[in-house]
Amino acid sequence: MHLGIEHYLILSAVMFSIGLYGALAKRNAVAILMCIEIMLNAVNIAMIAFSRYVVPDVVLLTGHVFAIFVMTVAAAEAAVGLAIIISIYRSRQSVDVEQADSMKG
C-alpha cells in the first residue's frame, strides 16, 4: 500500500487531539505550553502534507511558507509564555494554573 494524504492528515489529527487533551487537562503551566507546541506541530504536518500532495511539483510551496510562519510565531509564543510563567512563579511560588486565578470574577 502507498501513503496517501489521509495517512498524514490522520496522524496530524491524532497529534492535535493528544495536544488538546494535555492543554485542557494539565495543571502545570509549562506542561500546558508543551502540549500547545504538540498542537502547532500537528498543524504543520497537515500543511506540509497538503503542500506535497496538492502541488507535487516543487514550484509552489505556499504550505512550506505557512509552516515557517507558524514556527516563527511558536518561537515567539514560547519565549513570552515561559517569561510569563517564570514571572507568575516569582510572585506566587507556584506554576499551578488553578492557583493563578486572581482575575477570576
Binding site: 494524504i5 506535497r52 514556527m71 510565531v73
Partner: protein, 172 residues
C-alpha cells in the same frame, strides 16, 4: 521503504506525545517532547521538505526544547510533578470527540486524484527545496515579503517582552 519510515516515525511520535501528556515527571516529559520534535522532522523528510526538517531540528528540538527545560528547572517546586486538573475526564471526552470528527471528515472526503498523485507518492526527489522555499517567500508578485517583515518585528517584540517580564525589578 518510505512507508516503513512513515509508520515507524508515526508510532514513535504518537507514543512520545502520549507519554508527554501522561508522565508525572515533567522533566522526562520535556525530553520526550524533544524526541517527538525529532520524529516530526523525520515526517517532514518523508514529505520531501528537507529545509523545514532542518528548521524543525534547529528551532523546535534545539531552541524551544532548551527553553522548556530551562523553564522547568527555574520553576521546580511542584512535589506532585505534573498532575491532571479537575477536567481530566471532560477534556478526554472533548478531545475524543474532536478526533472522531476530524477522522470522520478526513475519511469521508473524496480526495480524488490528490491522494494517489503519482508525483507525490514516489520517493522524495534528489533535489533541495531550499531555493524553491526562498522563491515562494520572496517572490516579487506572489511572495510573502510584508508578512516576513512583520514576523521579524514580532520576534523583536517577543524578545523585548520576554526580557521585560523576567527582569528582576528589585535589584535595579
Amino acid at each position: 521503504m518510505i512507508e516503513l519510515a512513515f509508520w515507524v516515525l508515526a508510532l514513535i511520535m504518537v507514543g512520545a506525545a502520549i507519554a508527554v501528556v501522561l508522565l508525572r515527571n515533567i522533566f522526562r516529559a520535556a525530553l520526550l517532547l524533544v524526541l517527538c520534535f525529532f520524529t516530526v522532522a523525520g515526517i517532514y523528510i518523508t514529505l520531501n521538505a528537507d529545509f523545514l526538517a532542518a528548521v524543525q531540528v534547529l528551532i523546535y528540538a534545539g531552541a524551544i526544547g532548551i527553553l522548556l527545560i530551562f523553564a522547568i528547572m527555574l520553576t521546580r517546586n511542584l512535589p506532585e510533578g505534573n498532575p491532571f486538573n479537575r477536567f481530566k475526564v471532560k477534556a478526554f471526552v472533548i478531545s475524543l470527540l474532536v478526533l472522531a470528527t476530524m477522522i470522520g471528515v478526513i475519511v469521508g472526503t473524496d480526495w480524488g486524484g490528490i491522494s494517489s498523485n503519482p508525483q507525490a507518492v514516489e520517493m522524495p526527489v534528489d533535489e533541495s527545496t531550499t531555493s524553491y522555499v526562498a522563491a515562494a517567500l520572496f517572490d516579487q508578485d506572489k511572495g510573502f515579503v510584508l508578512p516576513f517583515e512583520i514576523a521579524s518585528v514580532l520576534l523583536l517584540a517577543a524578545l523585548i517582552g520576554a526580557v521585560v517580564l523576567v527582569r528582576d525589578r528589585d535589584r535595579r
